[in-house]
Amino acid sequence: MHVPDGFIDAPVSAVAGVIAAAGIAVSLRGSRRELDDLTAPLAGLTAAFVFAAQMLNFPVAGGTSGHLLGGALAAILVGPFTGVLVVSVVLAVQALIFADGGLTALGVNITIMAVVTAAVGYGVFRLLVRVLPRSRPSATAAAFVAALVSVPASALSFVAFYAVGGTTDVPLSTVVPAMLGVHVLIGLGEALITALTVSSVLAVRPDLVHGARGLSEPLRLVVNEPRRPEEAAS
């Protein structure tokens, strides 16, 4: 659900735009360290992946279906800064080329769906990975919790914007529980898919999961004493 124009009033939309721009500026600097030399094609293909992953609908219950936000997933896979960039670009392209989400609400959308989900998701993931024993199941569990927390966190940050710049007086005491309840459910789906995706990437290319770097033992080069051909022959 992308916030359209007119949902948040103009001054708060502008403030959100400044927050989003600052988040992107920090991410532009930080992402250079994440991918050895940050390359546009690599980040672009990751953005295309997030874009495609959002099209993958999974059935939730009673005929409804949900889709991925992808902020936590992108942050765990390619790092928090690149994750913010990637999801922001996806949101901007959706607003500009597919008219999904208002242009004046782009700042709000980027702040709640890219900056907050990536920051919260990655923070929780790193914290858990550090606390839990070093293994693939615990990294999977960490990804599950990270994605689960990231979705209600995003919803709460939306409520915060709405409380300051909302165009209607809806009492917060009814909005907050409803938003949290719905988004914990959505978060469960997000968490399941994120954890399974991270787990399957960990199984094949553990080096590509940025958040789990240092989790596996670095590979050692083992050199056996070379045997002479005549020894082998005898």
């Binding site: 949902f7 690599l42 295309a48 059935p59 080329i97």
Partner: protein, 250 residues
């Protein structure tokens, strides 16, 4: 969404059009919601722009459906909001909520229609060039360009996986099937990442140094700036008039 055409709107430089739409939407969002006539004028302005650009109204109408989830939310507002109650069609609803619903419906729809007109009259590739002209960091526009360029490839890859799953008798029925979908997504990520590495190496070997060569000049003349300023300037005037009317009312 893009519809090829050769109207004056199609020919305007992309960055002029982006700024025009942004200015228009800003004016709309800043308009006090009680001045309903202003929104009618905005709608007429957009209808005029669509006619001028040769965009059929049916094309716009079909794509407006993207905002349906928020329309649902807007219809809930009159029941959720507090404040003085009024009676509408035998239902007691909040007056403030009604205004809120109207506000979201009117401004959201105008914003969506303006964005649709922009995307319909500008090729995505050119649109991204326009964004680059607006001093957005080139890395961001490059990421967007690659995302757009390979989006179809990645989506097609995902469709092939779905076909492969279906051919093996898989059908997502409930949450337990997420295991299969998660594994597919993992494989899709690996293929995307590895394709990104290959593309990057291929570009390096062809002399890529972090900048994309400029293949299309999109310079704007003074006349084009003036032409693209008509829509936002009119909208700004309407917004100002709406504020004046609002103040004289108070």
């Amino acid at each position: 969404m893009y519809r090829p055409g050769d109207s004056p709107v199609h020919r305007l430089p992309p960055h002029c059009k982006i700024l025009a739409v942004l200015g228009f939407v800003l004016a709309v969002v800043a308009t006090p919601r009680e001045q309903m006539w202003a929104f009618a004028v905005y709608a007429l302005l957009l209808a005029g722009a669509a006619a001028f650009a040769g965009v059929p109204y049916g094309h716009v109408a079909r794509r407006v459906l993207i905002e349906v989830p928020f329309v649902g939310f807007a219809f809930l507002l009159p029941f959720l909001a507090t404040g003085p109650r009024v009676e509408v069609l035998g239902l007691e609803v909040s007056q403030n909520g009604l205004w809120g619903a109207w506000n979201i419906l009117a401004k959201g729809t105008l914003g969506v229609v303006a964005s649709i007109l922009l995307a319909t009259t500008t090729e995505p590739r050119v649109l991204l060039l326009g964004v680059e002209r607006l001093r957005v960091p080139p890395l961001l526009t490059q990421i967007a360009t690659f995302m757009f360029r390979y989006g179809d490839v990645v989506v097609a890859e995902m469709r092939r996986m779905r076909t492969a799953r279906a051919a093996r008798g898989f059908e997502a029925r409930d949450l337990r099937d997420a295991r299969i979908l998660g594994r597919s997504l993992g494989a899709l990520f690996l293929r995307c990442f590895e394709r990104g590495e290959r593309v990057h190496l291929a570009m390096l070997s062809r002399g890529y140094d972090g900048r994309m060569p400029v293949l299309l000049r999109t310079d704007a003349s003074g006349g084009q700036w003036a032409a693209s300023a008509v829509l936002p300037a009119t909208a700004a005037a309407v917004s100002l008039a709406a504020w004046m009317a609002q103040w004289t009312l108070l």
